[in-house]
Amino acid sequence: MRVMRAEPGRFADMTTRSVGRVGRAYDLQLTVYAALLAAFGIVMAYTNSVEAGTAALANGSILQRALMWTGIAMVVFIAMTAFDYRWFKTLAWPIYFVNVGLLVLTLAIGDGVGGSARWVSIGPIQFQFSELAKILMIIVLATYLGNREGRLDSLGSILGACLLMIPPWGLVMMQPDLGTSLVLLSILAGMLFMSGASLRWLLAMALGVCLAIPVAWQFVLRDYQKDRILSFLNPAVDTQGAGWQVHQAQMTVGSGGPLGVGLTNGAATRGGFLPVQESDFVFAVLAQELGFLGALVVFILFMALLWRILSCAWRSRDPFGTLFGAGLASMILIQVFVNIGMVIGILPVTGIPLPFITHGGASLISLAIGLGVIQSINLRQHRAVW
């Protein structure tokens, strides 16, 4: 990334290869798994719409919005698949600055709950640019680290990657959005790890982060964020505040049992006790209505999807592809872990959406970008090994 180069590259590849080869290079499984997860998301949007008391397809219902965003996401996915990902390497710097610009814009004109600035309203649509920031930072970091292939063992590369991450990370923290900033750090860590960077330096850095925690506690974290962490560590203290959500979520999940209570049947049991059931706690509703079995299917789909992303990364002979896959896998894994871990009470409450299932346009769009780029990478590799 030191030198920005236009890379017309092998733009002709697609045209020269036969349709059959293209078809084989396209990872149909990945698309299927993603589509199935998105279908789960639409099903949950349906059940939440019904439970919110609106007609399923009424104007502005959760389902209607979910269908709209899924449609947009499909278009984005197809567009990204068609788009030669290598242009990203060329456009990495502009992308980076646009990303930072959008985050600054969010801070400037964004709305949020209780004095925070999380999303920008464009007409009736609210868009959370911090969601987009995740995927854009994966592109930027993959480009940066990919260009330093061969020198990734040095401290300089690690520090460079960290320096790139600090401005967007800081802007997200200022919103304040602890969850997304945690995801950004996980993406950074995952990509550095998968790039093959020196474990010694990575561990040293991890140690540094640990040492920074007391400082962050003192100066960075807001009171409500501290409350959430404390209530997670000692849930008995406060069953009405942050701990209340965790308690309610666990009761909701538990009451699902092995087979679930059936779609739209959960509300009678929850009786409005579970807050934000359509967003961050949507998995609780899923586990309640579809049961352990349904949740297990979702887990298997996530694992299969991660497997397909990682195998793309593995196969890619372009380090960008490897690193992009690693970043996307890290993002999805950390979000699934933190979100579901929060719902089932093994992690503190943070506002991290569950990929595909949580209803949020930005989250779905950034996943569509990520998966589209993965398919684009798949289509544009020379298979050397297999």
Binding site: T252, V336, G341
Partner: protein, 633 residues
């Protein structure tokens, strides 16, 4: 692309192991999530489902209608009326909103915000139990509060029944009242189904017969949403069983007559406190029990304000104290019954024994005066009791000695609680040598024995003890426990419990001794010691008493209480006191009377005129003037 895929480098070599590690981490993460989910859904599923169920339903107690109270003639003395109450459930009121909600509620209810917060903080029970903030709220206000429920989280308006006492102060000391349960009582009674915001009998028979009146609360299962608001009734777990009703021994008409007589006397003599009791000596049933000043128990039933309660508490004349039962006073000459009966039964004197009465007796250099400062010459018991000669009874007391005198006091029921169905009964004091040693470390002096014989000195009795002793004299020696309740009647109208006369003891006194004392009591009237009482068509035997207390004024005079306790024969117009058939014994007590004559006697006469519908007025209003000139003992 200049990047070489084939140039070996260290990071590329590391990638396979990094991919492996990443894969392992992924498997580990999903393994952990699956394990925890299986634990929640399969292992703890049923419990968590039950918890969720418990959370969205609530078992709500269904108060049972409280039993009613009737007088002996079946007149209703208590009603249950529906009222609006405002309650707050602390758990549903976010702490940050507490002050704002308290202020808003206070302005609606016309209360102090601090009073609301104090009530919330001092409420028994958990944060999930509703706390009653205001009772008996006007309907307008109730609607206003209910409509503002969005701005008043945790606040609810409920319909409650409360007690209404149509006669108010007339029966307040007997009926008592109900009020919110206090923390200690709640802790004790919660296992019996009492609620943290329950109403409970606080005093009077409302308190002594609480378990009979309360009934059994029912239980219903109610749906509840996250805001804690109760919704539809899902099922009736247990029906409420109404409380049993009470039939009192009290006759409201006699209670009114007694109250009217006492009020007249207190007004005429400028008295601050008084007691009037009417009993049936054949059964121990209390027909009327008046303690003045009284208070309106409806104030408490409606939820008394702190200010009004403080005013009642700080009143010098203690309107909240039932002076007939909860306070004791020196009995004065009425106590001569004990010395006289004891002297006769212990054979220290016979009915015909003559004792020289004098202006005073001298003992250890001190003079013990007769009340008229002259004496009555040679006197038998009839003359001594009839004229209420102090020097006569000094000598009888001296013959008996402190311990025998105390023995007879105890036999008549003094120095111990009678066991009347009212809370907080006082025991009184009967001084004996042992008592004196226990209390002051030395035995009784001779002069103290003299004093004790005429109901002065250490002697103190409750009015209910005194009337009970004279009831035993009137009925031939049966000391009954005074009773206020005749029957407990179930909600179906069946009598659950009927109270029989409850004998404390048969006095160890011969019938002839008691007859002698009854005749002596009649002599009190016939010797005109009680002035024109003898002129009334209703024939009364009895004893007046004047009991000094406190400290002497500038002229060396002591303030005194005056008593009269008497009874009438079965045929009240025929003066036959040899029989033991008296149906009516009554007692008048005038606190700090300082009247020219005996205020107690005049009050008793006023009662007789009212009760027996005597047209002619026998009342000596002159005797009720203030002035410590005359002391009838």
């Amino acid at each position: 692309m200049s990047d070489s895929h084939f140039t070996p480098n260290r990071e590329r070599d590391r990638r396979p192991i990094r991919f492996l590690v990443f894969g392992l981490i992924t498997v580990l993460v999903f393994g952990l999530l699956t394990t925890r989910l299986a634990y929640l859904q399969i292992n703890s599923g049923p419990q968590l489902a039950a918890k969720a169920e418990a959370q969205r339903t609530a078992q709500v107690a269904l108060p049972a209608p409280r039993g009613l109270i009737y007088d002996r003639k079946g007149r209703l003395l208590v009603q249950n009326v529906a009222t609006w109450a405002v309650k707050v459930t602390p758990a549903d009121l976010p702490y940050s909103d507490r002050d704002a909600v308290a202020h808003r509620l206070a302005s609606m209810l016309g209360m102090d915000a601090s009073e609301i917060l104090t009530t919330l903080d001092s409420a028994p029970g958990s944060r999930f139990d509703p706390v009653r903030i205001a009772q008996d709220v006007p309907q307008e206000t109730a609607r206003l509060v209910a409509e503002s429920s969005d701005a008043l989280p945790g606040v609810e308006v409920v319909v409650e029944t409360r007690r209404e006492y149509p006669d108010g102060p007339l029966l307040a000391h007997i009926l008592g009242y109900t009020g919110p349960i206090d923390e200690g009582t709640y802790t004790r009674l919660r296992s019996q189904g009492y609620l943290a915001d329950d109403l409970i009998g606080k005093t009077g028979v409302e308190s002594t017969f609480e378990s009979e009146l309360r009934g059994t609360y029912g239980l219903e299962l109610v749906a509840k949403d996250a805001t804690g608001k109760s919704g539809d009734v899902l099922s009736n777990v247990q029906d409420a069983v109404p409380g049993a009703s009470l039939t009192l021994t009290i006759d409201r008409t006699i209670q009114r007559e007694a109250t009217q007589a006492l009020k007249w006397g207190m007004k005429a003599a400028g008295l601050k406190r008084g007691v009037f009791i009417v009993m049936n000596p054949q059964t121990g049933e209390v027909l009327a029990l008046v303690s003045l000043p009284s208070y309106d128990n409806n104030l408490f039933a409606r939820g008394i304000s702190n200010k009004a309660f403080a005013k009642l508490l700080n009143d010098k004349n203690k309107p909240l104290t039932n002076h007939a039962v909860q306070a004791h006073y020196p009995p004065g000459s009425t106590y001569k019954l004990v010395a006289g009966t004891g002297g006769l039964q212990d054979k220290k004197i016979t009915p015909s024994t003559l004792i020289r009465t004098r202006p005073y007796l001298k003992l250890a250099g001190a003079k013990f005066w007769d009340w008229n400062r002259r004496g009555f010459g040679m006197c038998n018991i009839n003359c001594g009791f009839g004229n209420s000669s102090d020097t006569f009874f000094y000598q009888v007391a001296g013959m008996l000695g402190a311990d025998r005198l105390a023995y007879w006091g105890h036999m008549f029921g003094f120095g111990q609680r009678t066991g009347i169905d009212l809370p907080g009964e006082a025991a009184g004091i009967v001084p004996s040598n042992q008592w004196k040693v226990d209390t002051f470390g030395q035995p009784m002096f001779g002069g103290e024995v003299y004093q004790s014989g005429i109901g002065q000195g250490y002697d103190v009795v409750t009015p209910i003890q005194l009337i009970d002793a004279y009831a035993a004299l009137a009925n031939g020696g049966k000391l009954f426990r005074p009773q206020l309740v005749r029957e407990v009647v179930g909600p179906d109208g069946k009598v659950i419990k009927q109270f029989k006369p409850d004998l404390i003891r048969k006095l160890p006194v011969s019938q002839s001794t008691l007859r002698t004392m009854r005749l002596a009591a009649r002599a009190t009237v016939t010797l005109r010691h009680t002035y024109n009482l003898v002129d009334m068509p209703v024939k009364v035997a009895g004893k007046s008493g004047t009991a000094e207390f406190g400290t002497r004024d500038a002229k060396g005079r002591l303030p005194f209480h005056s008593w009269f306790v008497g009874f009438v024969p079965k045929n009240p117009y025929k003066a036959d006191f040899t029989k033991t058939d008296s149906p009516l014994v009554f007692l008048a007590f005038a606190y700090d009377s300082r009247t020219i004559g005996n205020a107690g006697t005049e009050i008793a006469k006023a009662f007789i005129q009212l009760h027996f519908h005597i047209k002619k007025d026998y009342l000596n209003r002159d005797l009720l003037k203030r002035g410590n000139h005359y002391q009838s003992n």
